[in-house]
Symmetry: none
Subunit: 275 residues, 2 copies
DNA sequence: CAAAATACGTAACATACGATACAGCGCTCC
DNA sequence: GGAGCGCTGTATCGTATGTTACGTATTTTG
């Protein structure tokens, strides 16, 4: 039994030619709004021609476009009247392999933020928004992308942001550039990497303020860190999840940006003009 | 400020003639479904003539009937896509600057997964778990870290996983290695990068299957993609959020790992012994 | 109560929308 | 390498749709 058009589409999308698949994907992406518009608008949004749209709805089993739209509308009406049943993909009697993953991830985030005080975050934001010192970011094997992500954003809104990458010897030598005014953002979840711990220890000796993103069991680097963000990482998977840390990182990026804008950063305008 | 058409109607319903009032009441009764149908159907449902319906929407301030319908659709889209706005009592105690960010992110994830079918994910997992072809990953300015993150995991559980990085000319030349059996995972959210689009186009011409991670507005690469994952990116911040895509990526990594383990990957054991 | 004004529906109209025929192209399979 | 099939877009067509003009009905007002 196929209850919704969305299901129907995902059932058959595999057996569709390229053009119709684009139509399907476009519809799913902003379901179901585009399906309520005219064929012309639909086709334009999907980047195909109108006949392809019509063939698409025909393949779904509808006699004509208006019939397709009516069904869509009825579906919508049913949803609106019982907000409870608003799920496109019904809770799906445990068959789904990803749903528990999502649930666990959402829980992780809520838990992570519950243990983070506004004060703590505000302190970190203040430090990161300080333009006087340099900002270094580094991560472990799986978390280095998070460091990169954060660096990519921070580098735009303030000067002297450096992501430390490549061989250990390379970034170890960068310690020479680090001093009291500077910040070192480290991502390290288990299994904690010795090289990172040693790096953090040395940096700490040089007076660098360390902001540590780690898991709830705390990397040994926590000993040297000025600020510690402990994220939940447990999910029903073979791997730990860095998603909670990722979200904290995004929240910090957003807050720092706001802070620097408030301070009157003409920097961003300058950047705009450079493009 | 009148935010919804429903409010607008209840504001003015007092100053309407009998026929138009019936139209208004009919619309409110099954809001907004009937307004999406044709003038003829609307008039029949309200028991008035079509011109009365048109006069009714004209009185609401719309130039013509299609404009009225578009507005209704936009309103509907806003409702459907941000479940947050449906909650009457926002989590409040709004002192926290990060809380709205978290809420929006959680919503984004729920929405993103709501638009993803198990079938769709299963297809992608099957393709990624296929050890025969090569797997290439690449991302845009801010999303490249996601590609790295995924590559870091996939490279452990299967051979021939390559993250494309560095200068454009470097990874463009890698196209020579790509063929029909291969997969290209692309992360691209707005502003979409031309270089990536061209890259995807060429790869597609070579028969590479493209898995696209993009935002809800769909990168132009969707045209060439075999599979499209549309994540929600809107958050109360100066930046778009990639968190939802990150979580999808993690879910896929987990699923692919499980799949390959089921196939009996002695690879992981081998790796263990190498350490 | 009469006269005017407003409201409403019928019917004709024009437009834009969905539908269809056809040709070009690429792909697959001999 | 050639023949066949399937997919896609262009151009055209018929029609359903929104729109307007006008006459009748109903209400309002002096």
């Amino acid at each position: 039994m196929v209850s919704s058009i969305a299901e129907l589409i995902s059932d058959r999308i595999g057996a569709m030619p390229a053009g119709e698949r684009r139509a399907a994907q476009t519809l799913i992406a902003s379901y179901p709004l585009i399906g309520l518009k005219t064929v012309a608008e639909f086709s334009a949004a999907a980047g195909v021609s109108s006949p392809t749209i019509l063939r698409f709805v025909a393949r779904l089993g509808f006699q004509n476009y208006p019939e397709f739209q009516s069904t869509l509308q009825d579906e919508l009406a049913a949803q609106l009247q019982s907000p409870a049943s608003r799920t496109l993909n019904p809770p799906s009697q445990g068959a789904s392999a990803v749903s528990p993953m999502l649930e666990a991830t959402l829980d992780n985030m809520r838990e992570t933020f519950r243990h983070l005080s506004d004060k703590q975050l505000a302190d970190i934001v203040a430090k990161l928004a300080d333009r006087r010192g340099k900002t270094f970011l580094i991560g472990g094997r799986f978390t280095d992308p998070l460091a990169r992500y954060m660096a990519a954003h921070l580098a735009i809104i303030k000067p002297n942001v450096f992501h430390l990458a490549g061989q250990e010897s390379v970034w170890r030598d960068r310690l020479i550039d680090m001093g009291k005014r500077d910040v070192l953002v480290i991502f390290d979840i288990r299994r904690y990497q010795d090289s990172l711990v040693r790096f953090a220890e040395t940096a700490n000796q040089r007076g660098v303020q360390i902001v540590l993103f780690t898991d709830q069991w705390l990397s040994p680097i926590a000993r040297f860190a000025r600020h510690v963000i402990a994220g939940r990482t447990a999910v029903p998977s073979a791997w730990d999840s860095s998603a909670a840390l990722f979200v904290v990182a995004e929240a910090l990026i957003g807050a720092v940006t706001r802070q620097l804008e408030a301070d009157g950063a003409k920097r961003i305008r300058e950047l705009e003009s450079l493009r």
